[in-house]
Symmetry: C2
Subunit: 530 residues, 2 copies
Amino acid sequence: MIGLMQKHPLIVSSLIEHAGKAPPTAAVVSRTLEGSIHRCTYSDIERRAKQVALALTALGVQQGERIGTLAWNGYRHLELFYGVSGFGAVLHTANPRLFPEQLAYIINHAEDQYLFFDSCFLPLIEKLAPHLKTVKRFIVMTDRLHVPATTITDLLCYEELIAQNSGGYSWPHLDEDAASSLCYTSGTTGNPKGVLYSHRSTVLHAMLLCMADGFALTAADSVLLASPMFHVNAWGAPYAAVMIGARTLLPGPALDGASLYRMMRDEEATAATGVPTVWLMFQQFVHEQALRPRQELKLRRVLVGGAAVPPAVVETFERVFGTRVLHAWGMTETSPVATMCNPLKKHALFSEVERIDLQRKQGRVPYGVSLRIVDEGGAALPHDGVTSGRLFVRGHWIASEYFRGEGGGILDKDGWFDTGDIATVDSDGYMQITDRAKDVIKSGGEWISSIDLENAAVGHVAIAEAAAIGLPHPKWQERPLLVVVKRPGLELTKDELRAHLSKRLPSGGCRMTSSSSQSFRTQQLESYRK
Amino acid sequence: MIGLMQKHPLIVSSLIEHAGKAPPTAAVVSRTLEGSIHRCTYSDIERRAKQVALALTALGVQQGERIGTLAWNGYRHLELFYGVSGFGAVLHTANPRLFPEQLAYIINHAEDQYLFFDSCFLPLIEKLAPHLKTVKRFIVMTDRLHVPATTITDLLCYEELIAQNSGGYSWPHLDEDAASSLCYTSGTTGNPKGVLYSHRSTVLHAMLLCMADGFALTAADSVLLASPMFHVNAWGAPYAAVMIGARTLLPGPALDGASLYRMMRDEEATAATGVPTVWLMFQQFVHEQALRPRQELKLRRVLVGGAAVPPAVVETFERVFGTRVLHAWGMTETSPVATMCNPLKKHALFSEVERIDLQRKQGRVPYGVSLRIVDEGGAALPHDGVTSGRLFVRGHWIASEYFRGEGGGILDKDGWFDTGDIATVDSDGYMQITDRAKDVIKSGGEWISSIDLENAAVGHVAIAEAAAIGLPHPKWQERPLLVVVKRPGLELTKDELRAHLSKRLPSGGCRMTSSSSQSFRTQQLESYRK
């Protein structure tokens, strides 16, 4: 017996259609490539996204065809998010930071029909163009005044293209399972693989970000997206902010501390998203300039993902900014948010130190995602906060296979996706990544977490960045090598670093072995034995 | 092109399956009919809900068949919410407060196959039984010890029934569009009509309640459901709390002020749901007992719906309790939450008086619901906060037709549902119900809101309840008659009430006419002329 409720598809265009009816206050604030600030409403975004859809129609694009972008976070990119997916084509946000060979491979593999790009990427486009087999025309995302001289044949100007297509348009009623966007994940082995998001997975994931136990976005928020729109659709934030009617702050290419700080202050950002590296640079800038973020900013919370967040970053946000860090975990294949570290009732009694410690964990799965950790034989491991195993996930916004079948089946027989991460899960359900399966340092039967070493290292004031890698070793199989970058103007000796690490490494600390000055044995992972 | 994401159905069993994996702390606290407190985990609820599903299988129930309940808010009722819907049958929560004739009509119309009931309703069941045409067996929701003597043939005992069915069970993979539950709406004209919710509509509606701009439920919350589970599934809260892993507090039949206060205090309720009448009684109790709720309770917010919330209730919650009122609007046909009054950024600058005034409004539509107001010819009216018109809604959790086609088509040609309410919408999108279309008092070409009159009246300390109705009038067509119930021990004269009302009625206040001492002409609705 079928229920008697209205059935509307969960499609991307329904988000901007909803937001387009919101009050006509400035909703999207973008820093342009030229450095100026551009403001518009969601109603403007919807109107122009419809012009994009009309332009695609005029260009002969068919539903399901891929449309590429090479662009920073800006309002025109947001228009493409809605115009391309809303029309029924597939938005392929390519990462301009990749090597040109990888980019050419990805764009050819996606079979992009048209390629929209920010004018700053013209040199890259000119280099790529001869190698692109399916792209019919290139569109530079600017107005006629700013179209650069180029060798590209028949380069189209975005503003002219959409101005020619301003008639009436109604969003088509798409199948919610249809593909809406495409992102490639650049693994370290093999060719990049495409993850093909559906309208439904995109909308459900956006709902998660709006949940009070998700990223808790509200219409009263102003959210700054320092996560690039070419990284898993800026983690879904451009959909969530539109869904809930929050203001969206788009910083363009300017992700340096000074630019982010200025935009946060001037636009009263209450929330932000970004990887740990961005926040490390940001906090360093604030420290160097002796700024007073607690007084000058309204930043309440920051969503951090993409890599484990160093406790020092959490601590600085808490103590210097009065900002709560929401540690999340995910990957391109998981849309990306699969876990978030929100507190339970009992954590209200935690001390600040305990809270910051809790935030080392990547958190619990929300409704819609399940997780399990298993040993090498595939047997389920206990959720005791100590035993680490290979992390598998399943859920509404987890990939079922890669685009064009690359890599073959990626789910096990029960539908679980192997993340390639090693993790523990505690009795409250909090998951913590201890390493990438391929990065874990296998030393004498123990698995040493490269992440733990790196986090402990960057907790030292004199260290800006750190990387731990495994070196082959005749006796121990592997031994860790820690490479650090010092902060400008600060000094640090090997002994000072050793002393710092021996205090910081959790669960019994680290034991220095005499065989190698770069080696550590942590007790933490002893329980996980092969 | 179909996206390559995992596809899992949005079904009710997936909620309890998710919550069942949560930490094994007490999650559901119920006051039993006998007055004792019962505690269990969501894992317990899932285990026993599976036993319910096994029992339905043993009883020969087919998927899609209706299973009735006549019960208060308690853990066994919650088990039926998940056991019946999870199995694939349709949970029909009948309202024990209806007249027996109405109940018999509803249960026969629903064709309930089995009827579960709280033992306190046995006299009602004995009266109903001879008139029920489809019910095969009755199950009393208690253990053998508490089964009362009865004339009912072959009465089953809930605890015995499920104890006999404790084997392994996996939730079936249902179609998410399948019916999950059924509620009847008792209109004042014609027979009651059934609204048949789907699994999908139920889950999407629960997501709304978990949104930060919804009811903002989190895993750290303890939510007391003073909205009965037979009223539109307790407004979806039993699904939302389980989805997010909040503690659920179920007060049983004890909705008096003393019982609610004790449960809130002892169980540290942070959130609650209920109709204005419950909160009026509750606040009166707190006032009479001179309690100190701000010190003794942890109540952060209260979801109020079912009728317009009197500003005095909002004010008392804000000032005496330190509790925010979340004013919501909906009906059985809308699952029920269709609008909620959460603030925008600009409201942060509002004074307390302005905030309380904003909360008179029923709020904005979330993503998933659209609204429009139209005149009697069906033309759209402006969103200016003044012009009132007939309210239409559409969305994911709005009914498309009534069960078994009663009442014929209920959507207009564009898919909009006519709510029968009269409302204004302001330029920020905040909707305010001004009256039921059938309750509006039509006086000399003006529409006078019975709700405004009632709200103004209950704002007086000496008035406990008020009702405004229209009386036929030869000259004015209708004139309002205000009927009030005084609080015990307090006095009030007609002149004092008039003076109170003339200050309280908004937009120019009220003008007393000489023709009738009970009559008022408000300016407020002048702009809405037929």
